[in-house]
Symmetry: C2
Subunit: 366 residues, 2 copies
């Protein structure tokens, strides 16, 4: 397997399944992430699906089962385009691994967060065409990529509650940043569930099943759950831990990079913060002395209700090691927790601790 | 002015305006709070409103202005009853005051959080009867209690966005725990906005005005905002800081009380956690060694989507000082921030830091 991104600078955690994130600097200052820079999280081989023969089956607790071609989707429903951030639940796992090892899981840095403008149709419209029957509570997504990581091995899947599935922002998308959706990002059609962990935005979608209960797929029932720290992840079964859905408030420093040498004097520190479903980033505090004192960053307005927000702090850096810390507040007044150690969990999800980096600030040129 | 609660053991912060909370132990293990134990937060004198002459005016961006009597409300709309927690945005301010003084604001402990079963009609139904006009974005509440705390002095008021105002859980309530709403809690009719800070649940409601912008009332535009720590609250103007709305995740130890002597041996530590709008409490960790080690408390299911959740930990306490710490996780995997110092703000809102108490555990009887 090769790399799927065109950019040679992707940080590839695994080639098969292909799991890669951009270096943090590639995200800095960019409200939209190009498709070849957008992180790629896969649980099995990247399938090759022929758009001409692709069919989407809609079944379960519906009035009418549907089998839709790509042309049916395009012609039968209103096209919608919206910007949305996707974030892997394992984003910033490296910070948890630094506390205690997490075998078998990729040590994502903060690059497993990216934003694109998605084009497709509203899942709500397709569900309305099928008609929900009484007892419909969840909408399950299925795909052809068989994961050997699952126990037992099975195709990737997941579900969201009907209330989210019928919200207008949830798309069945065939377009990304104005171009056809690339194969590695789920062509011909993927789900995009804005505001929720990336795991629910199922790629290479082939089936939608309306059910009374959440999906029993391994990646819904057993994985993507915050287990208590003392739990043995190999012994974890369906229903254990906190099932992740809406994304929790997070923040990352993008530029300068941790450990990088920077000149002394005027500097701009930049990053992103992301508040997930129903929240916005209201404030970002940045410290250049390890948290002793704080300044408020300039925070960009989100590009609609479903995107990250970039921030920047203009400051002066004195020579020596500079410990940068960044923390975000959301629109409810909630602040991120400080320490990765408090968030450590056996599968390494949800590292929403404060962002930290050490910069080596050079003395002035003689 | 006397006290308004019948219980002599209310902690009265001020008599006029009347501001009082129950001792934490009075809330312990009680899913529903009795009306005379329920905290009382007022900004002006408690008005006496004659239910016979009371009128509710509905105006602004509506198709039809309404003027409703209590009988119109009762007869014209479907009665609804639901349990909901209210929490003052100043709940646990004492923990912030301990970091740095906050002049002019009451040092609420964790008792400014209570739960009742409310009966009334859905605000959504009343708004539907009035008909929302194009551009309707906010629903403002007005009341007759004039506050001298406001700048300039003015009747209490506030607003919520239309999306929340038209959600079925927002009530115009005349009943509390199956009895008529007591005068101190807003008789004859108050708003109940479940999942949001208590400040939006306006008491002694007399007016509903649908607008394009949030209320310009002092308590919406200027107060109930998290200002940056360096801000001068006397200089704060409309729009400054983070305007609070949905409640943020919080947790409190209710029993045993901080500083109290307890016998050594088997003990049950109990408290509440509350996740606010669109979230539930998913886990509560409790430490009896100041945070060095943690155990998971048993957490009750909420009584519907809008209530706190009580928790308990059965443990053994050894003689000596025992530092209890409790922290909650919500259903998105978010964890509370640790330190009150990080949350400190000039008006003292939103102390959602971990709960802490020191118990004096007695040696065994000789």
């Amino acid at each position: 397997m090769g790399t799927w991104g065109k950019r040679g600078d992707m940080l590839v955690h695994e080639h098969d399944p292909y799991n890669a994130e951009p270096p943090l600097g590639a995200l800095a200052g960019e409200p939209v992430t190009s498709a070849d820079t957008f992180y790629s999280r896969n649980h099995g081989p990247v399938p090759e699906v022929d758009p001409a023969t692709w069919r989407l089956r809609v079944d379960g607790l519906v009035e009418r089962e549907l089998e839709l071609t790509l042309e049916d989707l395009r012609a039968g429903f209103a096209e919608r385009t919206l910007p949305a951030t996707l974030q892997c639940a394992g984003n910033r796992r490296a910070g948890l691994v630094a506390v205690r090892d997490i075998p078998g899981e990729d040590p994502w840095r903060g690059g497993a967060t990216s934003t694109a403008t998605w084009t497709g149709v509203a899942l709500a419209d397709v569900l309305a065409a099928a008609g929900l029957r009484e007892g419909a509570e969840h909408v399950c997504f299925s795909a052809p990529d068989v994961s050997q990581v699952a126990d037992p091995p099975q195709p990737y899947g997941g579900s969201v509650p009907v209330a989210k599935a019928t919200s207008p922002e949830v798309l069945l998308a065939w377009g990304m940043n104005g171009e056809p959706l690339p194969r590695v990002h789920g062509a011909p059609v993927r789900v995009v569930v804005p505001g929720w962990i990336g795991a629910r935005s199922v790629k290479w979608l082939t089936g939608i099943t309306v059910t009374a209960e959440p999906s029993d797929n391994y990646f819904q029932a057993t994985a993507y759950r915050v287990l208590p720290p003392e739990a043995d992840p190999r012994a974890a079964g369906p229903g254990d831990g906190i099932s992740l859905g809406p994304a929790a408030l997070s923040c990352e420093l993008l530029d300068p990079a941790d450990g990088s040498p920077v000149p002394c004097g005027r500097a701009v520190l930049t990053g992103y913060a992301y508040a997930g479903q129903d929240r916005a980033v209201a404030r970002v505090d940045v410290s250049t002395d390890g948290g002793a004192t704080w300044a408020q960053a300039e925070v960009d307005a989100p590009d609609g209700p479903w995107t990250w927000q970039h921030w920047r702090l203009r400051t002066d850096l004195a020579p020596g090691d500079v410990d940068v810390v960044a923390r975000a507040w959301d629109s409810t007044g909630a602040l991120q927790p400080e320490h990765a150690a408090d968030l450590w969990n056996p599968k390494g999800y949800g590292n929403t601790s404060w962002a930290r980096a050490r910069l080596a600030v050079a003395p002035p040129a003689p």
